[in-house]
Symmetry: C2
Subunit: 300 residues, 2 copies
């Protein structure tokens, strides 16, 4: 999949001011809207997950996008396309998982059709409630780089599943049933007075850092040791890459005047790219270098 | 696909007041939202259509759902899942078709992922603009049954394609590039003062009539000869079934005090089921009989 090239074609074809952030902000309604799909064999395998967990994750990844905008998640629609072999129990469990992920968010509609494989496409709608909505192009020199949530856990969980581990641990749980950072998002939304950038780390922490840096025309400098992570990840090979480039943690990363409810890991500087400081060294990554190293799903 | 059984499970699992109509009405925002998917091999074949026409139809079927609610279509998001073999030209042409279908509607976001086959899931958002929003449970005895658009054309177009016809005629065009009934929807929305039922005929005229009758607890009586259709359809076998049970015409059917911009074909009566009057006879269809006869896509 040439996802980034395709998105550029879409931007050029539509010439739209909306395409760019994970959520589109419809100011006339005071709402944000986002739509994300999960495809069997690409984003998940029924060998590793259950209908309940799939329903849970499908909703949560979209709630996460609304949280990344700073809006309050309110409504969900779900389109399911399913093979003939799917039984009624699958539907019941999937929707029980979806409902559990929703909390106060309401599932208000959707669609159900046939297909060769399981395909889930969820739309989430959030309310701005008069709050400031984020944009990945709004990072400003001097703001702090603030993150919430552990990083690397989900990618390690996927690796453990692919390696044949069946016993569910905290990493596997992070991968199959991620949690959106609603509390962090709300704490920002209720307190922020200036423009700010925010993204979720669905495609990896470095992807989010790089997108914000590039779209805002700034450099982000972060201290690797300050990135929150489960200490046990350090027992696994390549754990530093998992933290930086592993996807699907659904943490949030924002550029803010202060930490609010999160952890400060760095600062917005003038320049371009991402500078990662280690104990005795530092590495400057360009956007292109980040894209080469990013987390891949089962396939791309 | 056990679509109707699955929808009942979803209703029971969610216990939601929203599930039922094609659009969910989010009163706090004054918006309606709908999401429909098109799946390669189920709803379309690239043997018969083009990327441009697929983009056009994917958007139009969702605009049609917004029109069926009486709201004004405003925004679209599009999630595309695509095989690796898809090239940049496909994306460009698909989005050109989508944009052409949009008119004043804006495409504001979406998602793009890998998949084995082409999946398109579109979400459309409309504004109530203070208008009365329809519900399929709002038909009342004494209202007229009013329709817009030709019926049967799309199903005949699909049949012609499946039979190997490659020359595009009006029937094939109806199938590949349907038109939502925006003008009819607007004329109702700007004039209606009472509660009313409205649906599009995406799953067939009789499906819409039957859903309204069942959900409103009434009988709908219609005169077959008054149903608008392309006269040339009468040259084909089973043309009466195509008109009643063929899907994907994206006409609208409503129960109204007067015709506004449409054609009166019958009346809402007390009772249940659908009574179809022919010249010298009449047939009363139950909901179950309608469901058995409904249009099937390439497969279900």
């Amino acid at each position: 999949m040439k996802e980034k090239a395709f998105i550029n074609i879409i931007k050029n074809t539509l010439n739209s001011e909306y395409i760019g952030d994970d959520c589109a902000y419809l100011k006339d309604f005071g709402v944000v809207v986002t739509q994300d799909s999960l495809v069997e064999g690409v984003h998940f395998s029924m060998k590793f997950t259950t209908p309940y967990k799939l329903g849970y994750k499908s909703v949560m990844v979209n709630i996460s996008d609304v949280c990344a905008s700073g809006a309050e998640p309110k409504y969900i629609t779900i389109a399911l396309s399913l093979p003939d072999s799917i039984e009624e129990d699958f539907i019941k469990e999937f929707y029980e998982g979806a409902k559990a992920a929703c909390g106060n968010v309401k599932i208000v509609g959707g669609d159900i059709t046939g297909a060769d494989k399981i395909y889930v496409s969820v739309t989430a709608i959030g309310s701005d409630n008069g709050r400031k909505i984020s944009s990945r192009s709004s990072a400003k020199v001097g703001q702090k780089v603030v993150v919430s949530g552990y990083h690397g856990s989900s990618a390690l969980g996927l690796k453990l599943l692919a390696d044949g581990n069946s016993e569910e641990n905290e990493f596997i749980k992070s991968h199959l049933m991620p949690e959106a950072q609603i509390k962090f998002s709300t704490s920002i939304a209720l307190n922020i007075k200036e423009d700010y950038a925010m993204m979720d780390t669905s495609d990896g922490l470095m992807d989010a850092l790089s997108s914000i840096a590039y779209d805002s025309g700034v450099m982000l400098e972060v201290d690797f040791d300050k990135i929150p992570h489960d200490k046990k990840i350090e027992n696994y090979p390549d754990w530093k890459d998992l933290i930086l480039f592993g996807g699907e943690d659904y943490g949030l990363i924002a550029t803010l005047p202060e930490a609010f409810d999160g952890h400060i890991i760095g600062e917005v500087k003038s320049g371009s790219g991402i500078k990662v400081n280690y104990k005795n060294s530092s590495v400057l990554y360009t956007k292109e270098e980040v894209e080469k190293k990013l987390f891949k799903h089962f396939r791309e």
